[in-house]
């Protein structure tokens, strides 16, 4: 059941990134905004990956959990945007 709950949140994340792509497709300005948001997400992701030990202490979770979250987030982004772009 835990796998089910993780899978559902993963799907929710994927759909959220697809929705972001859909918003980007509405207007050129929206596209710029979404690209800016994606750039910010990428920077935050990279920093989190580099500062994983201090961030894990700050969030009070283990480093492995933090890395799993980061990899899961990246997978959500790739799958969500990939599905939207390929459709």
């Amino acid at each position: 059941m835990k796998a089910m709950y993780l899978a559902n949140y993963f799907v929710a994340g994927c759909v959220a990134f697809s929705l972001l792509g859909w918003i980007a497709s509405l207007h050129p300005m929206a596209m710029k905004a979404v690209l800016f948001l994606l750039a910010a997400i990428a920077i935050a992701w990279g920093l989190s990956w580099l500062l994983d030990y201090s961030l894990s202490k700050l969030l009070k979770i283990s480093v492995a959990d933090l890395q799993a979250l980061l990899i899961g987030g990246l997978a959500m982004l790739l799958i969500g945007l990939g599905v939207f772009i390929c459709s």
Partner: protein
């Protein structure tokens, strides 16, 4: 609950993929439908995730309860074993701490019973003496116990006085003698 969870999970995937892949792009409401279906898909997925999390927590609690019950049962068994061991130990200590006369009498009675040459010793000369011997006492105690349990005189003569068959009549006499001796004393 699980059915709801599965329906929500499936519908979230369907609402995510079908409008993106299968919707006709020439339609005017194409973009709007995509947006609505993506929002609905997010809602379904989050709801399903919440339900699954609740179920996972409940199953975890159930597992904890099962573990606690198992531990209780194991503990109870260990405690009962310990208590029975302590009781046996106390009984043994009480026997050892009992007065020396009783021990001596018991020892003599046991010796008298087990030192007989015959494999099934007959009680031939027990009740003849006027002074009751320790063996008489032990026999009388056994007879009393058997009577309390509800055993018949025949059973007592055959199993306690060990006088079967041709000697049964003698046994009957000896039983009467024993009873009259001790009950007369009382």
């Amino acid at each position: 609950m699980q059915l709801k969870l599965f329906v929500l999970s499936a519908s979230s995937v369907v609402l995510w993929l079908i409008p993106l892949a299968a919707l006709d792009k020439k339609l005017d409401i194409h973009k709007a439908l995509q947006g609505v279906s993506l929002c609905a898909a997010i809602a379904c997925a989050v709801s399903a995730g919440n339900i699954a999390r609740e179920l996972a927590e409940e199953s975890e609690i159930e597992a904890m309860k099962t573990r606690a019950i198992t531990a209780d049962v194991v503990d109870e068994i260990a405690v009962s074993a310990y208590v029975s061991q302590q009781q046996r130990q106390q009984e043994a200590e009480a026997i050892l701490a009992s007065p020396g006369e009783d021990l001596e009498a018991s020892r003599q009675a046991l010796e008298a019973i087990y030192s007989a040459d015959l494999p099934e010793p007959e009680v031939t000369t027990l009740a003849t003496a006027s002074e009751p011997t320790p063996l008489d006492k032990s026999l009388y105690a056994e007879i009393c116990k058997s009577r309390e349990v509800g055993k018949t005189n025949t059973w007592i003569i055959e199993n306690i006085l060990k006088m079967k068959g041709r000697k049964f009549a003698d046994g009957k006499v000896k039983l009467q003698e024993l009873l009259s001796k001790f009950e007369g004393e009382a």
